[in-house]
Symmetry: C2
Subunit: 526 residues, 2 copies
């Protein structure tokens, strides 16, 4: 199961492909990795879509415990190949082994969390309003509803999470949990890793006796395969993590379809950090150390990387700044995920260096040829407010400090923010009271507000919201991390006047599945 | 409070307007109704938006019981003017008094249902995952989330529901319940009715001591005011009920904004009816009577009007058809909502009459000059499958019967359906078992499946789904009727590591509001 063929996986079949192959590349050495990978043809896209469409009626009706078994089988199969998988991922991404071990655990944990969710079953939001034939002026009908999957989902692998947001990552796990077949467009930056996980999923489909179309994984070096998938009439939703350009392009393709479909694109986020006066006074240096760790974690390639930091100028800021500058100036090797990201990082730094609105105060020398250095920019609120470029995301180990002279500027900056995944606030309880207006603004700008911690490291749990207003995501009403991610791929369906035997088990009289239901407005297990 | 001025209501102010006025028209007589109404200027649009933006921070934080009081105040004020309101609505819409009385009751019932929902408070989907500082390899943070309103909402009044889906209808009630200020674009077809209700809402805002921007209502005879509202950066969501052309235009405007926003447009639906063999045999004539009542109810101007009916040809179909033809042939006056709808109905009938794929079997003569007659078309499955026009909605008292000779044709027809709000199935329990495959297909095509009843008459309750896949609505993941309609105007917001005193009450330790919460994955009132 750990052989890599370079072929797309289309149901239980292997893609042939005819286009020129592409290779995985070791970003630390620049060396091509064997074997070559072959992009899927348009016939193969069509076949994957057709199989997904055929699988949907069966897979969408699978009992929760059957879906749970499938999800747990995938987790076990990934764990069984963890060693070669992590080895290949290390070669393809230059991410450190410990990080990839953690990411493998997270991926499997995610699959098992969704298994638990669908096995328990209450997530379907079963609602029952019972009939009242005597009601005047009109009898009241029996009305029942629950959440059902939208249909086949296309998932785009993310370059920065080769496991947890790729082939069997959060999007795939939540779509499977919802009852949707998944077609993955593998990220060309870690194709071998993708294939290994893809084969684990393919094997799980077979072992659980599910229709082959429940899962396909297609390779493609350009945008053709992805666009063809999003356009396909069988596809009913899209999960994507990547650039703003890529996300917006997919949104446009999906909106222009004869039947528009939802695109859940996680795009770009600069994740503002606000250090309030009390916190700056009490623990400025400690915050500097934590901030450095957070913005350089994973070489600054997390979507929650804190990319702009706001605080009041003055004496108390000095210790913070000096500690941070010192940390950034340490030579440290940051190898980015691929050569495209490396050039983009260098270009963005170059552009910002030339921007008179900010000053590069520290740029650490990289230790090795292909690696990059961390960079710290500094500016003040006045310049920041005038220069929108300073609020743009730079993907990589860089951040910008923004000092203000008046409290009003912080509020003005907050009001002017685009949507972000997170905002972080460092403060004392007194600060929180003094800046309640700031928190109120941030609530309208981000999906998650972090207090006295750092935004990197997204907990996979029930309450997590990893999503935020546009342009951080295409749909701020959703989260891509945590159990609520399942709600992206479903819609409510209502049955009126049906005999109980013809209803889905979740809605039958007597509650055979023992789930939580809203019966005549009362929540209970009746 | 029952004087009609013809002016837009902008917060607590009255619009001036400079454009030429327009009039309400009595569709039964063709006579203009006084006074003239003045379209809002672009400055007035701007003012309404600015006031809504200013009101949002206050209104969005209002406690559930305060929002409930506001919603109940509106209901009481509408009831207090019910008599002149219904009188004016009768003049502007030609809908019968009894229907308008029922609609008034429904409108007020809806407002009170949402009051109850937000007063109880559990709708916010509060989720808490508590911290575990000892967890390895990383400590687990405290993560809490709840639903918060998106921001100001624009609601377009619907021509066919002058009360229940207009100024204080389902869209407005659910947006207010969510905590969103509302700007209504009043429908030009019942402007006086709109103003009367608008003044009741305006008075309620004042009486409850809320910021004036919580509600505005603008007049406009064309599309200008509506488009300007949807484009305005302060606006974060749109509720619309109307034509497919109108809905799609608003979707395009919203998607082209620098920050795209969700549009909940209910557009068009033909609401297929399937009469299965057992039902046709057992009670064909009874179904014919019910069907006639349903497709002519409200002069066939309900979005759930059954507009195409499928059943097997043969002896048992004859009694059904003959009973239906007889019912349709009775002379009956149907006055449509306005002259635009009347001409559109006549044009659609004309077009279908010329279509060789179907046959007009009955057209009842209208009793009066401006009224229209009911029309019954008939065809067979073969022709229907070849001619997509036959599946299009005709707004007004008309339907088409489609007979098939083979069971496979029914499934082919079902598979080929566009998205609809409802599908109706008449059958015995044996029929349901025999046609389980049909039901499975319909589940993917509609929001609500009605068994042995008719789709008109949408119950306002917790389980209702009045929504369906595109093009019946712009977003098949939503409902515009019932308590779940509130979820259209909210998004989840997450707080990590906050001290309990700085959290919204819904998320505080000790559950001060006593609502249902998901704590570490367990639902309860802890």
């Amino acid at each position: 199961m750990t052989k890599i063929s370079g072929k797309s996986l289309i149901g239980f079949r292997e893609g042939a492909g005819t286009a020129a192959g592409f290779h995985g590349v070791n970003p630390a050495t620049g060396q091509k990795l064997e074997p070559p990978f072959v992009s899927a043809t348009s016939e193969e896209v069509e076949l994957a879509a057709r199989l997904a469409g055929e699988a949907f009626p069966v897979f969408s009706r699978l009992a929760g415990r059957e879906k749970a078994k499938f999800l747990r089988t995938i987790a076990a199969k990934i764990e069984a190949i963890a060693e070669p998988l992590i080895e290949r991922a290390e070669q393809e991404t230059a991410l450190p082994k410990a990080r990839l071990q953690g990411e493998t655990a997270r991926t499997c944990g995610q699959l098992r969390l969704f298994a638990q969710l669908v096995e328990e079953g209450s997530w379907v939001n079963a609602r029952i309003d019972t009939a009242d034939p005597e009601r005047k002026p009109l009898p009241k009908p029996d009305v029942r509803s629950l959440l059902r999957p939208l249909g086949p989902v296309v998932v785009f692998g993310a370059s920065n999470f080769p496991l947890a947001f790729s082939v069997a990552g959060g999007d795939t796990a939540s779509a499977f949990a919802a009852g949707s077949p998944v077609i993955v467009k593998a990220h060309h930056s870690h194709p071998g890793t993708s294939e290994l996980v893809g084969r684990a999923v393919q094997e799980s489909v077979r072992e659980c006796g599910l229709p082959e179309g429940v899962f396909s994984m297609l390779f493609g070096s350009g945008t053709q395969v992805g666009v063809a998938l999003v356009k396909h009439p069988v596809v009913k939703a899209v999960g994507f993590t990547g650039s703003r350009t890529g996300g917006k392009a997919l949104m446009a393709v999906a909106a222009a379809r004869p039947e528009p479909i939802p695109v859940y694109a996680e795009m770009s986020s600069t994740n503002p950090v606000f250090i309030l006066p009390g916190a700056l006074r009490e623990r400025g240096e400690q915050i500097a150390t934590g901030l450095h760790g957070s913005f350089t974690l994973g070489a600054g390639q997390f979507c929650t990387k804190p990319g702009m930091v706001f605080f009041a100028q003055g004496g108390e800021a000095e210790a913070f700044k000096s500690k941070l500058r010192q940390a950034v100036s340490q030579p440290q090797s940051f190898t980015l995920l691929n050569s495209g990201i490396t050039s983009a990082y260098r270009e963005s730094l170059g552009k910002r260096k030339q921007n008179a609105s900010s000053k590069l105060t520290v740029e650490a020398p990289p230790k090795e040829g292909l690696a990059v250095g961390a960079a710290l920019f500094e500016t003040d609120a006045e310049a920041f407010l005038k220069e929108p470029e300073l609020a743009e995301e730079i993907f990589g180990p860089s951040t910008i400090l923004v000092e203000h002279s008046q409290r009003a500027q912080v509020l003005e900056i907050a009001r002017g923010l685009e949507g972000h995944l997170t905002a972080t606030v460092h403060g004392t309880e007194q600060d929180l009271r003094d800046f309640a207006d700031l928190i109120a603004i941030l609530e309208t700008k981000v999906g998650r507000i972090v207090f006295n911690a750092f935004p990197t490291g997204v907990e996979v749990c029930h309450a997590m919201v990893h999503g935020g207003p546009f342009p951080s995501t295409s749909d701020g009403r959703s989260t891509s991390v945590g159990t609520q991610a399942i709600f992206r791929f479903v819609r409510p369906v209502c049955f009126q006047g049906f005999p109980t035997s013809a209803l889905p088990a979740e809605l039958q009289d007597g509650n055979p599945l023992g789930i939580w239901r809203l019966v005549n407005g009362e929540l209970g297990k009746k």
